[in-house]
């Protein structure tokens, strides 16, 4: 945990940003604002044309970012600058075809160059045939964070959790990303507790967190709360400043 700078016993906030949304400069500014407003870690998504785990809000942001010229090379440059200027942990999230298409070795050298703290690839299951990817994470001591879902079979869940490094990312419901879907269910919270029993790694919870109150309600249950789609919605109506206010509210209310 110390490696990621996550204080034990305290709920940390990870905020999500799509690299290049709405354009390269402003997505960088947005990420910096998140960090300065108190977000403990930043999740930077490298946009993909067919993002399978994302709902309409993030999907649209992916498309806008691609149309604005975002590429994996530029996204890693942004991550590097973020690491240098904020000092906060930055995790890169993307889909399997991005590392696969640009070349796994090249992808990893870009990740190392950018000083990324970990990788999150939700459509690359731990039992896939892409062994080279897993070998590279081990070789470079790169955190490989699995996203696990509440209706996974118990054996499979345990295998995925054990294969994870850095932290484990739990989704609070079976679904795709997207905010404003009502309260966090008891089933979702129970799932986080189940995953905690399988691992000593920090456990993150995301998918559907859309208010400071919902974030704070994870205190004592999860180690990290992840907010994504909601921040894009706030950005679309209120810009960077309101995103900063929202982040401040999340972190100040639970101190």
């Amino acid at each position: 945990m110390s490696e990621l700078g996550i204080a034990s016993g305290k709920l940390s906030l990870m905020t999500h940003v799509v690299a290049g949304y709405p354009d390269p400069e402003r997505s960088f500014e947005l990420a910096v604002t998140m960090a300065e407003s108190g977000s403990d870690m930043i999740e930077v998504q490298i946009p993909f044309s067919d993002p399978l785990a994302d709902g309409p809000v993030i999907m649209k942001a992916n498309q806008v970012a691609l149309d604005a010229g975002m590429t994996p090379v530029k996204a890693f440059e942004m991550v590097r600058e973020l690491r240098l200027s904020t000092g906060k942990p930055v995790f890169v999230m993307t889909y399997a075809n991005i590392p696969y298409a640009i070349g796994l070795k090249r992808f990893f050298s870009m990740a190392l160059e950018a000083d990324v703290n970990g990788l999150i690839v939700p459509d690359l299951p731990f039992d896939s045939s892409l062994q080279e990817y897993f070998d590279l994470t081990a070789e470079h001591d790169m955190n490989n964070i699995y996203v696990v879902s509440p209706d996974m079979e118990p054996d499979r869940l345990r295998d995925a959790v054990v294969s994870s490094s850095g932290f484990v990312y739990t989704t609070l419901r079976v679904g795709i990303t997207g905010a404003d879907r009502g309260n966090i269910s008891g089933k979702g919270l129970e799932f986080v507790r189940t995953v905690k029993r399988y691992t000593t790694l920090p456990v993150a919870a995301g998918f559907g967190i859309s208010s400071p109150e919902q974030f704070i309600s994870l205190e004592g249950i999860a180690d990290i709360g992840v907010i994504g789609s909601k921040l894009i919605k706030i950005y679309d109506t209120g810009g960077t400043e309101e995103v900063g206010e929202f982040v401040k509210k999340c972190v100040s209310d639970h101190m």
């Binding site: 044309s49 785990a53 649209k60 399997a96 696969y100 299951p125 696990v148 079976v174």
Partner: protein, 408 residues
């Protein structure tokens, strides 16, 4: 730890978010059990015979054979099936599996609308709910099928994202499934997607090749020399090819959509290009049309059913192993073949199948009359009237549409 039975060589697999893993395991497990179950197979056969209208004819195209002056050309007429295409074979099979799983709603993606139509049809037949996801662009160009799906009771949901075509419909259906896994079955329409779909869809379509084997043996006392089929995702081609895989001397040719040119966005040729590119999209590893950063490229084909950036993983493997070959046929060649088949045999093929016909017409004269070629007519051409009439009889067709619109 990786599961070899989910792959064709390095291709295929199950590259999906974990939210889908249980549903795919459940489906895989049920299908493994049912595929060797006597009662299931009896019921499937009964539906295929009495509802779909199988076996479909293997027709000797004697006029076409004479005019091309080479190999004997046989046509496997999947166009004679209920709903007019091979898609119904798989739809019936998967609907029976879904019923065994206790699912109440069938969900499906569709491009041209043929698979959506087949799904809506079996949903009506088996008393299940139905939701069909269709890109907005496809809905506009295939409105007749939208109307028919709705007539059959299906909810046709426009997909406004991305390129608003088949690939986006697949994304939308997978996402809907992730969110509604308990009561819905994703009835995927081609031999692609995460395991077990590629193998299951191929199995349900293999009735095509099994029938050809029996029909050809009866007619000619031997097996054919060449098999030809168009390849979008690739289910009609695998259905024809697969039962002949034990015959090393049979040539198998998949015909891809060459569109209107070689540039990005002008065609849907995944393999028959100078440098096919592997990728991981829609849950499977195969060849995809993509840019250097791994973003899917837009595609074009005059035939909506071939207008897709990926190809089923078994095709990718068969190609890499050198077992099957792939060629590309342009829009104008396909439309020409469409007209030739209509005039010479009184058979109007789907634009998809017309690609296979176009290749056969080029290939047949290279052989003697002791060579036997089978071309899969995967569907019939009625559905394409808004495209073909606009291409081949533009003025009359436009006048008709204008008049119809004014009469309203």
């Amino acid at each position: 730890m990786f599961k070899e039975d989910q792959y064709f060589g390095e291709f295929g697999g199950r590259y999906v978010p974990e939210a889908l893993s249980s549903a795919l395991d459940e489906l895989d497990c049920a299908y493994r059990r049912l595929k060797d179950d006597k009662n299931f197979n009896n019921e499937l056969e009964c539906e295929l015979n009495n509802y779909v209208g199988r076996p479909s004819p293997l027709y000797f195209a004697d006029n076409l054979t004479r005019s091309s002056g080479g190999s004997k050309i046989y046509l496997k007429l999947e166009s004679h099936n209920h709903t007019g295409a091979h898609k119904i074979n798989n739809a019936v099979g998967q609907a029976l599996v879904a019923r065994e799983l206790g699912k109440k709603v069938l969900i499906a993606e569709t491009g041209a609308g043929q698979h959506g139509l087949a799904t809506a049809t079996v949903a009506a037949r088996f008393g299940m709910g139905c939701k069909v996801f269709m890109g907005e662009v496809d809905m506009r160009r295939q409105y007749p099928n939208v109307y028919l799906m709705r007539l059959l009771g299906a909810d046709v949901i426009p997909v406004p994202h991305g390129t608003r075509t088949l690939k986006d419909a697949i994304n939308a259906t997978l996402k809907y499934w992730i969110e509604n896994i308990e009561d819905s079955h994703y009835l995927l329409g081609s031999a692609l997607g995460p395991h077990p779909y590629p193998a299951m869809v191929r199995d349900f379509q293999s009735v095509i090749g099994r029938e050809v084997r029996a029909q050809m043996t009866e007619r000619e006392g031997r097996l054919p020399d060449t098999l030809v089929a168009c390849v979008g995702g690739g289910s009609n081609a695998l259905g024809l090819f697969h039962p002949f895989m034990d015959q090393d001397n049979i040539r198998m040719v998949g015909v891809e959509a060459g569109g209107r040119g070689d540039g990005p966005g002008e065609h849907a040729t995944r393999i028959a290009v100078s440098q096919p590119k592997q990728g991981i999209v829609h849950g499977y590893l195969s060849y995809f049309l993509q840019d250097e950063n791994g973003q899917l490229l837009p595609t074009h084909s005059v035939s909506a059913g071939l207008d897709y950036a990926g190809i089923g993983p078994e095709h990718a493997w068969l190609y890499k192993e050198g077992r099957t070959e792939y060629v590309s046929v342009r829009d104008d060649e396909a439309v020409k073949a469409y007209k030739i088949l209509a005039r010479s045999e009184g058979i109007i093929p789907a634009l998809e199948s017309s690609h296979a016909v176009a290749f056969a017409l080029k290939e047949a004269p290279k052989h003697h009359d002791d060579h036997i070629m089978v071309v899969n007519i995967s569907g019939r051409g009625d559905k394409d009237i808004f495209i073909t009439a606009a291409l081949t009889d533009k003025d009359n067709w436009k006048n008709f549409l204008k008049k119809e619109a004014v009469d309203e």
